[in-house]
């Protein structure tokens, strides 16, 4: 959304100006919370996506690490160095660079997990709501069973089972995929239930009948008529879930079943930093933690704004 607000480039000028004048953009510009949250998310996305170019150091390059640089505090404090603005960890890694790379992994896992849960949940919800009867009952009971397991438990279970089945090397290389699956699988029932509820309302509306009268195929009625009308709540759940998924990933990594310290996400950073908290080296865990909180908060605020802005009846 914020991308459309950037100044027009010569070639696309007219189209960008039209986008700038659109209702959505107007709504965005006149909501200070949305602008702030959007700016934070945009900045974080930028930092995460371009981490290899933006970050002052490469925390993955072991050759560039120097143990002499370890335990530098953040900048205004005594003993700080300007090349490490947020300090360094026990290995001499730059905390700021580690956070950038950590956000990259956290966002990657979060977004992929939410997308996975959304696609599965929306399709199952649509099918259950539109088909009704036995199909509906069966799918919803499966969702109920899934909901009775806490997300963290499911994730631990999936991780444990996969870890036991696969050889260690393969397990390591698939770690991100396993995390995405584990977090996504525990979230689909929320999408499915919401979509099913809205579908039950929508499918009896006359516009759906109008489509059925002229013989539109069932899957097309579901995807092109009902789906756009049930996506509003899905978007809100997706953004709230994005925050939740990022936190889940951080929790798993903090517990040590997520990503290894060689490939640190925000959760891993908080975990490793946590070991040094009581020796007074607070910056290793506080900065990644604050980043996590800020990221999740900004995403949720942006989601709330989007819900209001995308509802044509509220405009």
């Amino acid at each position: 959304m914020s991308v459309t607000a950037t100044p027009a480039r010569p070639g696309l000028g007219a189209r960008l100006r039209a986008a700038y004048d659109s209702d959505l953009c107007y709504h965005f510009r006149h909501s200070p919370v949305a602008v702030l949250a959007g700016a934070i998310v945009a900045l974080m996305l930028f930092g995460a996506i371009f981490a290899p170019w933006v970050a002052p150091h490469d925390p993955f390059d072991l050759a560039s690490l120097n143990l002499m640089d370890s335990f530098h505090p953040p900048v205004p404090l005594a003993g700080s160095v300007w090349t490490f603005p947020l300090g360094t960890d026990d290995q001499g890694r730059d905390v700021f660079s580690a956070i950038l790379f950590g956000m990259r992994i956290s966002l990657e896992v979060g977004v992929a997990a939410v997308l996975f849960a959304m696609v599965v949940g929306v399709l199952i919800g649509l099918l259950a709501g539109y088909a009704g009867g036995v199909v509906d009952a069966a799918l919803m009971r499966i969702a109920d069973v899934q909901l009775t397991f806490p997300a963290i438990l499911v994730s631990l279970l999936v991780d444990g089972v996969v870890g036991a089945v696969l050889p260690t090397d393969l397990h390591r290389s698939l770690q991100i995929g396993i995390l995405i699956f584990a977090i996504g699988i525990s979230n689909w029932p929320q999408f499915a239930r919401t979509v099913r509820g809205s579908t039950l309302v929508e499918r009896n509306k006359e516009y759906v009948m109008a489509a059925r009268v002229i013989g539109v195929a069932r899957w097309r009625v579901m995807l092109s008529h009902i789906l756009p009308n049930v996506l509003g709540p899905v978007l809100i759940i997706a953004t709230l879930n994005l925050g939740f998924a990022i936190i889940s990933e951080a929790t798993l990594s903090f517990l040590g079943v997520g990503l290894p310290p060689t490939e640190p996400s925000l959760g891993t950073l908080i975990n490793t930093g946590n070991n040094f908290l009581f020796s007074g080296d607070w910056w290793m865990t506080v900065f990644p933690g604050a980043t996590l909180v800020l990221m999740v908060l900004a995403i949720n605020l942006l989601g709330d704004w989007l819900r209001d802005a995308l509802n044509p009846r509220l405009r």
Binding site: E206, M209, I214, G215, P312
Partner: protein
Amino acid sequence: MAEAALLEIRGLGHEFDVSRPWLQRALRGERRRFLRAVDEVSFAIPRGQTLSLVGESGCGKSTIARLAVGLYRPSRGSIHFDGTGIVAGQAQPALRRRMNMIFQDPYASLNPRWRVSDIIAEPIRVFGLMKDRAQIAARVGGLLSQVGLTPADGTKFPHEFSGGQRQRISIARALSSEPEFLVCDEPTSALDVSVQAQILNLMKDLQARLGLTYLFISHNLAVVRHMSDQLGVMYLGRIVEMGPAEAIFAAPRHPYTRLLLEAIPSLSEPGRARVPVGGEVPSPIAPPPGCTFHPRCPLANARCRAEVPQPLTLQTAHGAVDIACHAVAEGRDRA
């Protein structure tokens, strides 16, 4: 009827399963329950004419409308369109193209996320009538003008229009596949009176120009009188009186029709004494035995409570009228 009928319905019946879920039914020892929405309905609509069905809420009018366009599969009986049988749920694009439906609620019958031009073009695309985008756009523009809107309205969303304008969009959509037969399910009941007249006149005008055949569903007798050639009065899923609209409005014979017409406010005789209609419409889940109208009928006797009346054809000055009533058959209504 002299002319060939475009739509012919014979012995149509439809039941809805209103049973509780299986487990609850098993626990309480209940049997399956069915709601008899339509029972033994037969009629035919000649090409280019309008047949209206009137009746109170829940009498099965809308169910007949939906059966006629193939939204439901009839429990009994047959529906023939231009000589071909309609089977619900099966792909018969050639038949479906020739019929369409106008709905009651203009606020629910247009997909709120679609642009008006896409809504109107949907039948064209579904039936593959035109492929070229410019051609479709021109056709949509033409349809919008035909129903009294402007082609520029196509880029808007439904929520930008009033109820009457939305109903015009709904009509444009119904016309876009060039159908011969339109089912109109209470098309004006959600509109203001002044707008109702505009929409009805538009529909009559389109009927005259395009030679459309209408099955018109309404509970508003004034609207029905304005629109209909043929009229069917329904009560609890059955047609109690059917015939030319003029004949029924001039001389209603069935006690229920008489009560309905009696209830119309009159400008010439304000404040006249009326016979109030007693009682409620019985539940269609457990309809009364015999004539379903007997609990409310001033002429009911023992036979009415036991025996279902069959339609009896009476000749009137305006044409043949079918009436299903023991009292009329026995001449008790004239006593």
